[in-house]
């Protein structure tokens, strides 16, 4: 008997991607349009008054933040919805009764959600490049960070999907925690522009490290050390992984 059910994992992955295709407008087109509207309003209309930041136009400066704003929310939503729906409609019975380890199940859902986010991030970037001149100092690292951050937040989304008891709870973290933290985490400004007390307070927001890392790959500069930022993301990754392990070991809200 093989030790790793990659065909089963792939079945979950493909199933989730086919859901993505079914909700093409909601999953792909809407986030791109929303991001472009942000870019139009903040980048062009307001940006001309703000001037340049970190050696680039304001519009170019906010692109990495806008991509992160979308990626974080989409990773959470896609992953949480992906595992919550089979729990909600009962079809999780066939996932749990299949010869799949908990880690294969998690990888299937997280991998699919992360893939969607990566695709979305790249499409937003490609669309933005048409309109705005934006430098990408470290393109390979930019791509690597996009993958890493999408995976980490898809893992958090998977946890949310497992612990949620209702659609209301499913939306709580993305809408009431992540979105405000992203707005306050430097998506639209550099924290160097803040007064010292607010700058220090902002450093407690983990999202600042994520946006800073991603923006660093574009601009080559960051208000916080890139190594500290990567360390914070890795801590979030390890915490999420630990929680997933605990959930599956105990069967918490998965098995009766």
């Amino acid at each position: 008997m093989k030790r790793f059910n990659y065909v089963g994992l792939l079945a979950i992955y493909k199933f989730e991607l086919s859901r993505f295709k079914r909700t093409f407008w909601q999953s792909l087109v809407t986030p791109i349009i929303t991001t472009m509207l942000f870019l139009l309003v903040f980048g062009n209309a307001i940006g001309e008054r703000v001037g340049g930041i970190s050696g680039v136009s304001y519009a170019a400066f906010i692109i990495p933040g806008l991509i992160m704003l979308t990626i974080l929310n989409e990773s959470l939503s896609n992953s949480s919805f992906g595992i919550y729906m089979p729990k909600f409609n009962g079809t999780i019975y066939e996932i749990l009764s299949a010869p799949l380890s908990p880690y294969e199940i998690a990888l299937g859902y997280v991998g699919a959600a992360a893939s969607k986010s990566i695709l979305l991030g790249l499409l937003i970037l490609c669309t933005a490049i048409f309109f705005i001149d934006i430098p990408i100092q470290h393109p390979f690292l930019m791509f690597a960070f996009l993958i890493y951050i999408s995976f980490v937040f898809s893992m958090i989304g998977f946890i949310i999907g497992i612990v949620s008891k209702s659609f209301d709870q499913l939306q709580f973290v993305p809408l009431l925690i992540i979105t405000p933290l992203t707005f306050l985490g430097g998506a639209f400004y550099s924290i160097d522009m803040l007064p010292e007390i607010w700058r220090t307070a902002t450093l407690l927001n983990p999202i600042i490290y994520i946006i800073s890392t991603f923006r660093w790959s574009f601009l080559g500069v960051s208000p916080v050390s890139i190594y500290v930022s990567l360390g914070v993301i890795t801590v979030i990754f390890l915490l999420s992984l630990t929680l997933i392990v605990i959930i599956f070991r105990t069967g918490y809200r998965v098995k009766t």
């Binding site: 065909v7 086919s18 996932i95 009764s97 010869p99 799949l100 009766t256």
Partner: protein
């Protein structure tokens, strides 16, 4: 070497966090190739038992072995052997019949096998619906799809949790035929049902579970012989006087306003009582038109075991 039974449960206990004991030390051996019907009232523990074997629920204590393998340590090998048709119609509403059956096969780590899926869909009269999305199907059709999904990886053991709940009479007959055909293919079938006639028709052995305890496990025919009772119905020519001696002497039930008498007896213990009864009727000048004997059904035995003992 003697082959082990496909499923062996030893002292299986399941206690839910709220303290409810759903299974209370269940011991059970399912034999290769049989149809085993698990009967019990609502909340008796039937679905919990199935869920534990299939990996949907965790046991509190005890051992569960499938094909000689522990269900937790060897979960991959064990689950590969098992197909499950759940009680509820759990489906992905927007998937097509074809895709959802292929998806189930994929979950079991098996490559796509279109001829096999085609055969299963044909066997279940689903071939014409293969491109239909699930939400457009009737309840009976959805039930068939769930069976198709459970069969997609060619299991050797099939759990059918209330397979004919909510289906019409014709489909029920089709399902029974299907179950029989899988038995012919040496698939071991564990069936839970509320329709006791279903168990009576299909099962080789019957288990009765109540309040988490397995009350009995018995070969169906010997169960009906051992626990079954017979009733002799006597259709009278004239209404009987309810004070007639024969009524109290043989503990007869007077029915149909005195035109029928019923005498219930245990066919295993019966000796000369019927001939004595007939002689007594004649002696009291009570004449009858005809006689009829009825054998108690599995349903009556079940009610006797479970409901009347509450």
């Amino acid at each position: 070497m003697q082959k082990s039974n496909p499923i062996v449960l030893s002292s299986l206990v399941k206690t839910f966090p709220n303290g409810l004991v759903a299974l209370d030390g269940v011991n059970l051996e399912i034999q290769e190739g049989e149809i085993f019907a698990l009967l019990g009232p609502n909340g008796a523990g039937k679905t919990t038992l199935i869920n534990i074997i299939c990996g949907l629920s965790t046991k509190t204590s005890g051992d569960v072995k499938v094909d000689g393998l522990d269900i937790e340590r060897h979960f991959r090998e064990v689950r590969q052997l098992i197909g499950l048709v759940p009680q509820e119609l759990y489906t992905d509403m927007f998937e097509t019949v074809w895709d959802t059956v292929c998806f189930s096969r994929g979950l079991f780590g098996l490559p796509k096998d279109s001829p096999l899926v085609e055969k299963i869909l044909n066997d279940l009269s689903l071939w014409s619906k293969r491109q239909e999305i699930m939400k457009n199907l009737s309840g009976g059709m959805k039930r068939r799809v769930l069976i198709a999904k459970a069969l997609a990886h060619e299991p050797r053991i099939l759990f059918l949790d209330e397979p004919t709940a909510g289906v019409d009479v014709e489909l029920r007959q089709d399902m029974w035929e299907l179950i029989r055909s899988y038995k012919k293919q040496k698939v071991t079938i564990i069936l839970t049902t509320h329709f006791i006639d279903e168990a009576e028709t299909l099962a080789d052995r019957v288990g009765v579970i109540n309040q988490g305890k397995l009350i009995l496990v018995e070969d169906k025919i010997s169960l009906m012989t051992k626990l079954g009772k017979k009733t002799l119905v006597i259709y009278l020519e004239e209404r009987i006087n309810k004070t007639a001696n024969v009524i109290s002497r043989f503990n007869l039930d007077v029915k149909n306003d005195g035109l029928e008498l019923e005498y219930t007896f245990d066919e295993n213990e019966e000796g000369t009582a019927i001939s004595d009864l007939i002689r007594a009727l004649a002696a009291e000048g009570i004449h009858f038109k005809t006689l009829e004997t009825k054998k108690s059904s599995l349903e009556e035995i079940f009610l006797d075991l479970v409901v009347k003992k509450k």
